[in-house]
Each structure stands twice: as structure tokens, then as C-alpha cells.
Symmetry: C2
Subunit: 313 residues, 2 copies
Amino acid sequence: MEKRLVIALGGNAIIRPGERGTVEEQRRNVALTCRQVAAVMSRGYQVVLTHGNGPQVGNILIQNEEARSLVPPMPLDVCGAQSQGQIGYMLQSELARELASAGMNVPVVTVVTQVVVDPADPAFQDPSKPVGPFYTEQRAKRIMEGGQYVMKEDAHRGWRRVVPSPEPRALVEERAIRLLVDAGVLVIASGGGGIPVRRVAGGWEGVEAVVDKDLTGQKLARLVEAEGFLILTDVDRVFIHHKTEREQPLDRVSTGQARRYMEEGHFAAGSMLPKVEAAVRFAERGGYSIITALDRLSLALEGRAGTTITKEV
Amino acid sequence: MEKRLVIALGGNAIIRPGERGTVEEQRRNVALTCRQVAAVMSRGYQVVLTHGNGPQVGNILIQNEEARSLVPPMPLDVCGAQSQGQIGYMLQSELARELASAGMNVPVVTVVTQVVVDPADPAFQDPSKPVGPFYTEQRAKRIMEGGQYVMKEDAHRGWRRVVPSPEPRALVEERAIRLLVDAGVLVIASGGGGIPVRRVAGGWEGVEAVVDKDLTGQKLARLVEAEGFLILTDVDRVFIHHKTEREQPLDRVSTGQARRYMEEGHFAAGSMLPKVEAAVRFAERGGYSIITALDRLSLALEGRAGTTITKEV
């Protein structure tokens, strides 16, 4: 039995900060990312991939807005589904190439994934996740008066729509994902944290929300019984006392200690905090979690980079 | 063993002629479509679904064009992948509801699907499939001079980009699709005919083309060893001598007779002709193909509606 990993790719694995997100940029970044993933697989790991979709769904929302007079805009859940198709296809394409050049014949499949959320989740009382284009104050207030969206000012950059970021409860496609993974398929799933849906009579209905991709990622990791859950971001390791004189990188930390650091406010909300939360949740069930930079993936698996979180140190 | 069918949904199963394609319209149409599919499944058929994406990818291309100054436009293959995510999600959502209300517990999964095409396919010498927005003659000629696209005039409605429509050679995700179908999963695959890709060193590369969804559909039907291949469109049956005094609907026709009708020019290119071609190809390998209207699906399976094509009549 291969050692199974779930790897969560951050947005910067596909569109880097400062890039506009041309297809050439995205393909180049995805190719570098997939090379890292193939390197890990050639060392005997089975990988399941998940990824963020912030920049891509942001672009799709802007396109929807700009073409509003010609094409009816799609709601956030449908835009999220589009971004899963887009990113999944790009990953499939580059992974096939990297796996082939590493001499591996592994089928790659993107599963369009819905994530169940609870309408009673307190997040619905406090929409806080910014999505889509920036608006002027005047336009934002007009949109809010229309009652359609909640808008908030984003420091100096204008106003943006904010949506709830509820907890992931389960993946709707869990049986199929499990089946494919057990058959040795490289599965790309729950992109962007999954398309949030709520239970309605007999089925599911899309919800205007964004689920944190790492919180969903740890659900995915538990579903496939991964031994490790890796969150790839833009820093080598997690810091405590970040950006102070006492700044200190974490190499290995227990789930208990990590929870104490969280309570002490060491990690930025909306940035490192949900990553640590997701990593801790997975490790509390017995596996290991690693938070590291994309290019440190292989080193981190050898314990030579990254922050590793386990139940006991 | 259940009787296995591949059902190819036409564009009108999701956005009907004259509709703008609001999310409410699409959801309502998809719900009606999924009710038909669930009815067939409750009669003991296992179903694999495929679908067109013309109106959806058209809208995505318009959105890309309108937001061009803010967001780098994505190429056709990426837009196709987006449309697979979008339509697959909508179908998954409504199928879950319809299956549950019919008392069936069948997992539903959309597989983002690439279709292999041959760069030597003669279609690349003669781009003929119109995609995306209409342009004025002046703008179209400027775009053509830029060398990026081939544009053609579309009768009285303006100029449009045309792309090649090559033959489907194989589905890249065939192993995963087969695995899921054999495990009893309701698979949605090769939407819009699949994302066209060509083989490059060790992998695949997207191609700016559109593959006919029914031609890919019959490949899918052969892949999963379906007994029947159903093409759902907006007419109850196929006609010969269409729109003349001698007009005659076809109930049952042999593949040989159908090929003769094709050669005699009874079917409109870009409309009924590729459907009959796809239906004949599947039937020539031993199964049955049916071309009928969406709401005649169940009747057609009883032989009481539609045009059925088999090797021998």
C-alpha cells in the first residue's frame, strides 16, 4: 500500500501575486507545481490534490459583471463550478506531462465537487469573505440597497462583496472520490473548498458562500484515509510572534501546542489561522499535517523543511 | 446487469431557443431534463450522460471579450473546461433531487473530460464551427488581420469566429470513466464533446477547436459498452425530404439505409447530419441508436417514438 497524501495547493500555485492571470502565466505556474507533485509521487506516495480558486473565481465574477448587459450573470456557486473545471483541466493537462516524463502511468481525473454546509452555521450571520470585483462606495451602497449583496470596504482598495465562509460538513461526491483514489487514480477534488450546497428536500441547492479550501482539504484527507495532509503556501514555515523581534519559525509542533498558539493570536485570521486550524484538525485524528512552501514539498516530507503538526511531538 | 445507455443532451436541454440563459431558466430546464433521466433509470436502465455546451461556452466567450481590459481572456479549451464544470454541477444538483424523489440512491459525478484530436485531421484546414460573440464586419476584419482568429459572416447576424471541428479519437479519462460507470456511478462526461487536446511530448495540449458532442458521445457509448445511444434533440423523429411535400418521418432504419440517406443529402450539415452520423457509427458496432425529443425519451425506449437505427431492421 502506497503512502497516501492529500496536497492542498494555494492560489499562488496557479496565479502568483502581481500576475494578471494570463493563460500563459497560469500554465507555467501549474507546470512547476505539477513537477513538484510528480516528484513526490515518484518517491512512492499516492497523491490526492485539492486547490484554491480565489484569483480564478474573482476573474470569472469580474467577467460576469462586465458582460452583465449581454449575458445573465451566474451566481457564485455556478462560477465556483466553472473555476473547478478550469483549474482541474489545467492541472490534468500538466500532470499528465510531468507524470509521463517521470515514467509514471497514472490516470488523472477532476471530480466536480460539492461541499455540504449547514444553513444554521453562524458564518451566515456574519459574511466576511471578500469575493469578486472592487466597486466605488457609491455603487457598493446602491448594490446593498438593492438587497442582493452585503458589501464591505476593503482597506483603501474600494468596496467588495462579502459572503459567509461556513464550515464544511461533508463532500457530496465522497463515494466516487474514494472509489477513484482506491483504484489508484490521481484525483483532483473539492477545488476552491468545494461548491457550497445545503440540503433541501431530497437533494442539494447551491449556496452563495465560500468554504475555506484547507478546511475542506482536511475533510478530503480524512475521507481518503491519507497519512499526511500538506498545505502548500508561500512561506517555508509557520511563525509565532510573526513580524516582531521574537519571531520564531516552527519546525515540529503538537496539536495541543498549536491550539494554544492559535488562542494566543499568533496567526492572522483569513490567512495563516485557517491553515493551522485545518492542519490541527487533521493531525488530531492521528495523521501528520505539514504547512510549507510549494518548492519545499519534497524536503518537507523528509522533515527538512516546513512546519509539521502531529498529535504528539 | 442493468441495461446501459448513453444519453446525449442537446443544448436545448439546458438553454432553450429564445432564452437568455439566466440561472433560473437553466435550472428549470435542467430539472425537467433530469426528471426524464430519472424516469428512465427507475425502469432499470443505467445511464451515462453527456451534453452540449454551445450556449454556455458562447456566453463565457462573450464575458471574456467584454472584460478583456480587466481580465486576460482564456482560450477556447479553458472556456470549454469552465462550461463542463458549470453544466456538470447543474446536472449533478438536479439529478440528485430527481433520483432521491424516485427513491434511488445513485452517486452522480462529473468528470472533466479531454478528447484527443489529430492535428492532421482535415478539419484543421477548414475551420467551420462558429463560436462566441458576433462582431461587425469592420471589427471582424481587424481581428483576422491580427492573424489570431478565422472569422466568417453568419447569415445577416454579423461575423463570428470559426474553429475546426475535428474527429474525436479517444477520451483521455477513459479508464476513470469506465471505473466509475462499472461501479454504478451516474457519470456526466465529455460535455461539449470534450476539451480537444492533441498529443505532445509525453502529454496533452489544448487545441482551439470544437468536437461534435454526438460524435464524442458515440465514442463514450462504445467505451462503456452501452446497449443503446440516445441523442435527445428538439424533434420527435428524423425526417427525409425534410420541409418538402414528400417529407417523411423515420421510425426504424438500418445503418446502411441511413448512410444512403446521408449521401443523398437528406440531413442538414451542422444540424441533423452529425447526429445521424454519430447514431449510425454506434449502431454499426452492434448497439441501437435513437434520435428523439427530450420529452419522448421513455416512449422512444418502448419503440413508440423517435427514430431507431440498428445494423439490421
